[in-house]
Symmetry: C2
Subunit: 320 residues, 2 copies
């Protein structure tokens, strides 16, 4: 039997596939997380997703057919057609994700951009659910965002809205993966922090960070930088402060432009903690318009690693 | 008789009051423009507005009572209550504009922020009317903006959205009137261009500009800079290019964030013409995400000095 009271949510990432069976209240009945194995191509990834779907159904003892599957994928993509134009993390180009999954699963499939769905997840199921004007920003390998405006996910004219990571915050800053200079992502993402640390080591400093990385350049990550900072390492603290300042400038721009009442920050790099948060807040306080700043709360996202997954669930139950 | 087929629109500026009687198609039956005389206080300005209303009624030979009056005023303001918190251009603080006008005119009054109404005017009556996702930017003494998102004027959580002029485009740039550094307004407004020119003259260069200003520092305006540039003056061209670059950076941020299909540029300073436009476009092409850029047209506003006035008309006929 098909039961639209239960849906599948999938968070498809470059590294992992995270799948759950949930009810309409966003309560998860069963969840699994497996490696994406993106290197083996889209067909393989589709098979992996199907595996996770079967697995959560088995785990939950659910004998029916869920009403819908919602999936968040890296973009750019066309959410209406469920067509992924390009997903560098997955090595995908022009993959008809919706069609492939519907054929494999015999179930309606709805597709969304991962950062947009994380915003939607927080909007529908987060601790601050229901706030009409909310910006979600994820700071991890890259920096992405999703906009809830007037109570709805705002996608823009071509489903491309929310690219906070590619706002310029320092016109002559470091080169970004997109080719431009001084994008927020090039200054404040986990990748940017790790890169900055490696540059310090290459230049003969950054000893504390290098030691924490076991003396191996390739082990220098944003997490290592954060740990060094937590131990009081001045250079690591400087890196986090730089990233925080860039985030503060970018967020001030977004806040001045959109006057939201809530900004939620998610993603692994936001775990960097106090030094980053402090520098960000300082810059934000300087640059956001006073009245606008008084109307906004800037706080950590409330669903942690489940924002995207629960956004996919929200999409599947028709809250997109 | 009260006829809701006709409304009054008012564009209230620091220098001029611009008032029209219009029908529901936005056709203007009569219009007048008089000096605001803001120095004489809010009551005087209210009387001046009432004068213009009586004047357009007389000029048009309209014998009835218009259905509503829409007015655009500088902000920050609360459009619902029609309450102006602060309008430095007018020297106003806490003026209950709606209430004062309703008492004086015995007519329903609706109030909006001037830049927001200019966006609305273009959206409802401009050559590109009806485009769902549109950003309007006015570059004149200051830089303001209005956002049409999902086919509606987007006001934000506290009616403060659209402050494009106070997005940071150069973190260590010149100090803005708001107190921050490197706001778009501090780099690309008419005021900023004139200030830059004066600095050049003070530093012993900018001779061509100084001559065109009749050798008087106080006569150096953005218009003079534009004229000097049109005559090939290298320093004036440099000023326009600098402003254009800053505009390009700011617009790229807005476009990457909101993925609009239309950006309209209005205001006197946009008359600076080709050198500014060219530098802006170059920067925009560099910094906007390719797919997003392909979906957007960046063009001059189509209603010229009437954008705000027709926005007030649109508000009065209930299209806000």
């Amino acid at each position: 039997m098909v039961s639209s009271d239960f849906v599948i949510g999938v968070d498809l990432g470059g590294t992992k596939i995270y799948t759950a069976l949930a009810n309409k209240e966003g309560e998860i009945l069963a969840e699994v997380k497996i490696l994406t194995e993106a290197n083996d191509g889209p067909e393989h990834v589709i098979r992996r997703i199907v595996e996770t779907v079967n697995e959560v159904l088995k785990l939950s003892g659910f004998s029916g057919q869920p009403g819908c599957l919602g999936i968040g994928a890296p973009g750019p993509l066309d959410p209406r057609r469920g067509f992924v134009y390009q997903a560098p993390n997955l090595g995908w180009r022009d993959v008809p994700l919706k069609q492939l999954l519907e054929e494999a699963l015999h179930m309606p499939v709805v597709v969304g951009n991962d950062a947009n769905l994380a915003a939607l997840g927080e909007h529908v199921f987060g601790a601050f659910r229901g706030v009409d004007d909310m910006i979600y920003v994820t700071v991890s390998t890259g920096i992405g965002g999703g906009l809830i405006l007037g109570g709805k996910l705002y996608l823009g004219a071509g489903f491309g809205a929310g690219e906070i990571g590619h706002m310029t915050v320092e016109p002559d800053g470091p080169v970004c993966s997109c080719g431009n200079r001084g994008c927020l992502e090039a200054l404040a993402s986990g990748t940017a922090m790790a890169k900055r640390a490696r540059q310090l080591v290459e230049a003969g400093s950054g000893r504390g960070i290098f030691m924490l990385a076991g003396g191996a350049m390739e082990n220098i990550t944003a997490r290592v930088v954060s740990r060094a900072a937590a131990g009081g390492d001045e250079e690591a603290l400087g890196i986090l402060a730089g990233a925080g300042r860039a985030l503060g400038i970018g967020l001030a721009c977004v806040i001045n432009l959109l006057n939201p009442s809530l900004v939620l920050l998610g993603g692994g790099a936001m775990q960097a903690g106090r030094p980053l948060w402090q520098a960000m807040t300082e810059e934000l306080n300087k640059r956001a318009i006073r009245s606008t700043l008084q109307q906004v709360q800037v706080i950590p996202a409330t669903l942690g690693p489940r924002s995207g997954l629960l956004g996919a669930v929200a999409l599947a139950i028709g809250k997109g």
